[in-house]
Symmetry: D3
Subunit: 249 residues, 6 copies
């Protein structure tokens, strides 16, 4: 295979999200871990969540552009705290609509990022249609970016594994944890990134509690001799494609 990454290129992670805050609550630990290993992380943020996830600002009488600016600033600060780069598509939320144009823009990001790992939303969410729309385009663009015949700049990509991060109401979205990621060592970093999202302070403790809960489950599912810390923090993920490995573990 003749993909774009040279042998010595650091590994690359691409995160595709619907709204400005999603990557923090749902994948902040995975992003911080990758950054801590010296890898590159690119966040493709399709909208600022300006209409659907900024109720407090609307009630305070802010304008649409002001709200976009606030959300952008918060997301940039959080990305910086995690060690990642964020790209804003400003595609408009509530509803975020699946279009060939937006998918094509994502193909270009895939070819530029040459990701080794892709993170995005699950494909079902009865509480927020923007999330499945983002996921649908993230998956479609990944397949198109693999095709030499698809007319876009850059080298084709391989078939990087995809991970769905956890939605707000997991059981209602068909979300069943298939991977439990130990984020204990970067927990403080994730918490700092959450605290960059000042408008959603009520979620700081909510997602701290979730990390504790997923940590309890991680320990419950860990094999022997793992030497886990007393308080393990974790994030949960699903895999839409099979894991490829050289060893069962």
């Amino acid at each position: 295979m003749t993909h774009g990454n040279a042998p010595n290129t650091p590994r690359s992670t691409l995160v595709v999200t619907a709204h400005a805050g999603d990557f923090v609550w749902r994948a902040g630990g995975a992003i911080a871990l990758a950054a801590a290993r010296g890898e590159k992380v690119t966040i493709a943020c399709l909208t600022y969540g300006e209409r659907g996830e900024s109720a407090k600002a609307w009630r305070a009488g802010k304008s649409l552009e002001e709200i976009k600016g606030i959300r952008r600033g918060e997301a940039e600060a959080a990305a910086a705290a995690l060690g990642a780069e964020v790209v804003f598509f400003d595609a408009g939320d509530y509803p975020l609509t699946v279009t060939p144009e937006l998918t094509d823009r994502l193909v270009a990001v895939y070819r530029a990022a040459q990701p080794d790992v892709v993170l995005t939303h699950p494909l079902d969410d009865p509480y927020n249609g923007d999330h499945p729309a983002a996921a649908r385009m993230a998956l479609d663009a990944r397949v198109l970016a693999q095709a030499i015949g698809y007319p876009a700049e850059g080298e084709i990509i391989g078939a990087p594994p995809v991970f769905f991060f956890e939605p707000h109401q997991p059981e209602m979205c068909g979300f069943k944890p298939q991977v439990l990621l130990d984020i204990s060592e970067v927990w403080e970093t994730k918490r700092k990134a959450m605290e960059c999202l000042a408008a959603q302070q009520h979620l700081w403790d909510y997602y701290t509690d979730l990390a504790v809960r997923r940590g309890v489950q991680l320990k419950r599912n860990a094999g022997p001799n793992l030497g886990l810390a007393h308080k393990t923090m974790a994030e949960a993920y699903m895999r839409p494609y099979p894991q490829v490995t050289g060893e069962l573990a």
Copy 2:
């Protein structure tokens, strides 16, 4: 956690199967890989498959004891070829029945083996009820062996990951590959182990073709820069419990 394996103990794999041939066709590659890494592999073989999987011998007029002996000899030869140890329970097949006694014997094997990894059948198989019966007992015994209050010899075990290996008609058993294991480097060993099963020669090519097919899928699902050989051979597995990990990959 105070499980029985000392820090320097080599990793241990436990394979629980219904019939004498199952571990070869379905998990021979995983067993050979573990053995090649210097790990210990124990195969708990609940029956010889003497009634349900020995049609040729019955047609040739062999007695029940003769058939058991033939199957046992073949299985021992195949296990030796793979580098594993096999324990026969002689519990009687067709039907293999779930009982507390048999489950209890399996608990003892778990505590003795202190497995880091467990392999067994999937929980559904409309073509052969012995396979789900073996899987049910393998899962139940794993949970019981974790409890300090369960009255059995030996140290309690941790929560080793479980992998379901591939049944003969995967789509009819709800089998969806979640892990594709690259067995290219031990393929010749697996083929030799299959050839120990003289009575089922018609399956040698069948399972060689399956390994090619799963290898094609492995390459199709592999991330970039994996440097895969031209002809990759693979086995497919499912995970009933979430994967625990420190890195998404």
Copy 3:
């Protein structure tokens, strides 16, 4: 929460359907019950069913406009019989297409109706793509109408419970009754509304039989001491969202 309904406003039900007859066959009992309790019921009828559900009229050589008029008249008579108001969108059927514009028009209806309960089609129907299209837009518009940032007239709405009514071939549409509604006391009203749909006389007895059948199941699932009438008539519904309650019953 500061939703639009004043404390003394009567409860409001919104029914979103694809074709002119759907609300009668599938939810006529629920509508009549709500009206009998003095509540307001608004039916958003996206098309007249002029192409896909008017075969008899086409065979009789009617024009498209004539057929629309006939279907509209029948639906208005049926709605009046049930005690409900019907709004026609005239969006064109066979196929009814999901569009942002049509969804936006539905948001306006939600904000005007401030529904306490929403009824619509299930999300799957391999026999008629218009039904899932209507349901998809009904659900999307409900979520958009909740967002203060969504640019539409009127007060935002809360999160009214949603009920899917029964399709023509329930088992083929993944329809599993989760709620059995006793419509015995309004059965005569529903029957009269059905008889307003003169063009589909063959369905009058069909849906009477269905109500008997669902009534038998209601009795089979009812707790003790319910004092059910000898001949209970019922309608079946699904809930895509969890029930919120202060008492298990």
Copy 4:
């Protein structure tokens, strides 16, 4: 129908659980609510959880009988705190085995209790086989108790609705919340009952956090004008049988 409950008999709830602590963590709120309404609640506790859920006591060197006594005492105190009566079957845990005899004892409890509501475990739990075993017998006994031909003491029962309470790892047990029960007004009572279970102090905060989380979801799924308190606490349930009702809400 001529079931046993006289018209003025207070409503009756039957809770069938595998282990001594289950009714507190999983249904303590529902029990306290029913008791607060003056209803009768009977808890059928099939085992003390002496082997599988008493690791700390085993490590402290207690004997089997001592452990049973401790668990029994804790459960009685918790039941008293909630206002319920608990019946111990002492059927032996890890494994709890489905038998006709145990099912028959449950039939007698059903006929004596004449429940209007039944609570039990869900039918799947890959982490603890005792839970599905208890649920299986609870459901079987409920059906047998309805049959006049089944040879047991007492009046036959009706068809009381069944609710599955939430398991420890809901997503791994196929648990999808279908009912969210507001337990805010009895929260302090549930907390006190949890604190009766001294051996499992690490779970007090864990299940407090869960109640907060389910409360957040309750508010997210509640219709308008519900006047919910700022901090709503909730429990989640599933319904294996359809809800029977006279009004959609």
Copy 5:
């Protein structure tokens, strides 16, 4: 293959049911069709339904033996009307329990009947555990009867296709019609057989309505040029195993 049926033997159908009335309501049409084609039909009736499905007789004060006699007589008359032979196992209902002994008796029936087609209950029924128990044994015995090593009289059988007939509450049993069988030409025969079941007169019309309903669906799913009668009556079935065919139709 050297199965027992000689080339000129008429085709054979085996029906395995839990209770005396099941074969009439659920498969009477299929049985009458086979008999009308000159084929042999054997009904293995595991119980008389004496405890769980004879409420009226119990209320009338009949004894257990009297009730068995009544049910047996009715079933024999119905089988005669359909043109089938019925074998009673008298295994005891409510609960019917899965045992190796009962399964073994079924193996003998399979080997004697050498069925070309097998009909039985679906594997799930939350309203009546006897039905899944009968189905489980019917499927297990079919597999055991195929094995030359299984110690039972008679020739081994092939792999006859299996059809699950329709339960009383299909949607609650996961029943999705996969085969719609046109029984119009034997409808009068089925109705007469139903009328042999005097104790359950309330079901005569219920199952007539069901046949009409399934007939409507049959016409809705039929290809062109089928020349269907105005009033088509039908029964619905599921296939747990794939259809084997030489032509797609």
Copy 6:
């Protein structure tokens, strides 16, 4: 019913595929069988697969038009070998987009072909979004073509049965074989058609192995007395709609 096919018209099969090669690998046997029976087979090929399935040609520096020409030529040769006619839509692949216009063109093909059988892709394929897009339009157009009110040329069609053919990674597409078609007698024809697709020579043996594997399963699921050849070759299909039949077999 007054559909377009005169009584003596030969049966007609319509195959709707996304890319030029699909009909050969996935349904070549069914097509050859129909042609061998003297029936008419029409293949509606929505794209040439010019972008997504022609990597070798792109690497060789061919232009888009050259690649289309090559693929068209190969597909025409393969169709001729099978005895079918192919219609090219040239709708553009990677991505193939669902549009009302393309669906409408398919309606015209349905009305012209008056199919007795329809073959297309399954509705899920996480590796190639063009396949579900083609299937979605094939199913929608089939329903629209049935409606006398839909404005298109030609007679309305009936309700021909639909079969989904097998995707490349069946388990990942929710593909469970429901029909196993014996293609032994036309195997040589299918192989010749595959060999017309010179650019994909690596797939010739792959799909030969698949036919062997499905043949083994066919024999495993066949009833007695079928007189199957030693080496049976087969194709697998799913049915989205129920089978309509006059005999269970």
